[in-house]
Symmetry: C2
Subunit: 316 residues, 2 copies
C-alpha cells in the first residue's frame, strides 16, 4: 500500500473523553478508504492496567499513565512507512493484552487524550485537530456511552464524567493551543436541544494550515447556513471562524462540497467513498455539518499528502 | 545510563535450542554489570501463540512465526539509545502477553534463534556470536532443560529434540556464516563425558573483528591448555582456531586473563565484576574455558564501545 521510502500522512484527533474522537476517526477512515488508513487509538499506550492505575491514584489521562515516548516512536515509525507492534489496552477488562501488528498505510489517523502533550509527539502530525463540543453535549454523549455501551451504572458514570471534567482542565485543554483546527459541535438553540443530526459545527481555523478559500460561497447579509468571519479565540488570538449551521440546506451544502472537490487535486477515490457514504447516511439522517467537516479534514489530508509527493519528486 | 544521542553496543548470541544462549547472556550481563545491560530474548518476538502456531504447522524457529521486522526495528531503537515496548512470549503458557518497557542501556545483549536471518537484523550488531556446542552435549542440555526446567515428559522432550535438529539445519545453521566468532563447548574425551565444569571451548575467529593478540601466551610445543592455529572452517574458509582446554591450569588461565586486562582500555567496573563472579564461581566449580570465553567477548564489547566513543568525539 505504501511504497518503500514513501511517507504517510498523519492526522491527530485530540479531545476529552466522549468528545467524538472515535466517531470522527471512523468517518474519516470511511471517506479516505479503510484500506488506505491505519487507525490508532492512543488509549492503547496506557502504562498501567486499571487496577495498577487505581492503586496509584492516577487518572487514565495523566501523562504518567501513558507511554508517550513509545507512542511518539510508533507514530514516527508509521509515518516513515514502517510497521509497528502496537500495545493493546482492553477497555472491557482494564488489562493490557497481546500487542497487534499494524501495517504501514498511506494515512494514519491517531485519536487520543494526549497526542499533543510533547513537542516530539506534535511533530509527528501533518494535521492536528482538537475536538471541543459544547460541554452539555459532551456530558450527554459521555453518560450515554458509559452507561449504554460500556455498561456502567448511572452513579458510576456520573463519577467518570466528573473525573473527565477535571482531566479536561488539567490534561486535555492545555493541548488545544497546538491544534490547526478546533472543531466544536453545538446546539443552535441550547434551550431546545436538537437531535445530533441537527447540530451545527464551528471550526476555529488557525493560520498553521493552508485553509481552502471558501469566500466564493459566502453571500454578505444572506444567511445560507455558512459563514466565515474574523474573530478572536478564547485566548485573544486572531482566528477565522467557519460555521456550518445545522439547518444548512442541501443546495448550500452541495455548493461547499463542489468547491472542495474543485480544490482537491486527486480525489476520485475519496469522492466515490464520500458519495457512497453520504447516500448511506442520508437514510440515517446524519448531518451536513458533520459530513462537510469530514470533507474539509479530508481536504487537508489530501493537500498534505500531495505536498509530500511533490517534495518527494523534487528530492529525486 | 545512556546519554542523549549516545549509541549502545549490541551483542548477538545465536544458536539452536539449548545451545547455551541464555547461560552465556546472563554470564556476560553479570560481567558487564546488570545495570548497564538490556537483555533481549528474541523468542518474545514470536508472531503466534503456541496453539495458533501448531494449527499452522509452523516450528517456533520458522521465520514466518517471528516478527523479525519488529525485532530489527526494536534493536535499532535500543542501539540509538531509545526505549522500546518489547512484546512478551510466555514459554510456560505459550501465550503472548502484556509487553514490557525496556529502558535504553549502554549494552544490549540479544539472544535468539534467528537474529542474523536478514541483512537488516545483522546490521544491528556490533559483535555477532554463534553457539555451536558439540551436538551430544546440546542433546543432553536440551533434554535436561525441557524435562527438569520446563516440565515436559521425556517422550515429549525427545520429540522437541528431534524438531530442534530439523530446525537447526533448516533455520539456525544458515546464520553461522555471519558470526564473528563461532563458539563450541565440547568434551575433550567424548568417550568419557566430563562434567560441564571440565568442558573445553573452541573459538572460530573470523577476520571480521579485531581479535586480541594472544601470541605472547603461546609456547610452541608446550601444552599449556591454550592454543591458536590457522585452520579451515567446515566451509573451507580460513579462520583462526582458539582453543582453551578444560584442564587449563589456574596459572595459564590467569595469564590470559591478565593479558586481556592489559589490552582492555577502560575496565575497572568489568574487572571488579569479573573478579567477584570468578570467586563465586570457583565455589561452584565453573570452568576456566567458560569464564575466559566471557572475558574475550567482554573484550570485544568494550572495544566496540570504545571505538564508538572515539567516533563520537571525532564527530563533534
Amino acid at each position: 500500500m505504501l511504497n518503500e521510502g514513501q511517507r504517510a500522512t498523519v492526522l491527530g484527533i485530540v479531545g476529552n473523553s466522549a468528545a467524538g474522537k472515535t466517531t470522527l476517526a471512523q468517518g474519516l477512515a470511511d471517506i479516505i478508504g479503510r484500506e488506505r488508513c491505519a487507525l490508532i487509538c492512543a488509549d492503547d499506550y496506557h502504562r498501567f492496567s486499571r487496577l495498577e492505575r487505581l492503586a496509584q491514584g492516577l487518572s487514565p489521562a495523566d501523562p504518567r499513565n501513558n507511554h508517550l515516548d513509545i507512542l511518539e516512536q510508533h507514530l514516527w515509525t508509521l509515518r516513515t512507512g514502517k510497521p509497528i507492534l502496537k500495545p493493546v489496552y482492553d477497555h472491557a477488562t482494564g488489562l493490557l493484552t497481546r500487542p497487534e501488528y499494524v501495517e504501514p498505510k498511506p494515512y494514519v489517523i491517531v485519536e487520543g487524550l494526549l497526542c499533543y502533550n510533547t513537542r516530539g509527539l506534535r511533530d509527528c502530525f501533518d494535521v492536528k485537530l482538537y475536538l471541543e463540543p459544547d460541554e452539555r453535549l459532551r456530558e450527554r454523549w459521555k453518560l450515554e456511552r458509559d452507561v449504554l455501551a460500556r455498561g456502567y451504572a448511572l452513579e458510576e458514570a456520573r463519577k467518570l464524567l466528573a473525573r473527565s471534567k477535571r482531566d479536561g482542565i488539567g490534561f486535555i485543554l492545555p493541548q488545544r493551543l497546538f491544534a490547526d483546527i478546533v472543531i466544536s459541535f453545538l446546539h443552535e438553540h441550547p434551550e431546545q436541544p436538537e437531535a445530533d443530526s441537527e447540530l451545527s459545527v464551528r471550526h476555529i481555523l488557525r493560520p498553521t494550515l493552508p485553509h481552502p478559500d471558501i469566500t466564493p460561497l459566502l453571500e454578505p447579509n444572506v444567511r445560507n447556513g455558512l459563514s466565515l468571519e474574523l474573530s478572536r479565540d478564547h485566548d485573544g488570538k486572531p482566528v477565522d471562524l467557519l460555521e456550518i449551521e445545522g439547518h444548512i440546506g442541501p443546495r448550500d451544502a452541495r455548493r461547499l462540497e463542489d468547491l472542495l472537490w474543485l480544490l482537491l487535486p486527486e480525489t476520485s477515490a475519496v469522492r466515490a467513498n464520500f458519495g457512497e457514504i453520504s447516500a448511506g447516511r442520508k437514510a440515517k439522517l446524519l448531518s451536513h455539518p458533520l459530513a462537510l467537516s469530514e470533507l474539509l479534514i479530508a481536504y487537508h489530508l489530501e493537500m498534505a499528502a500531495e505536498e509530500m509527493r511533490h517534495a518527494g519528486s523534487a528530492g529525486k
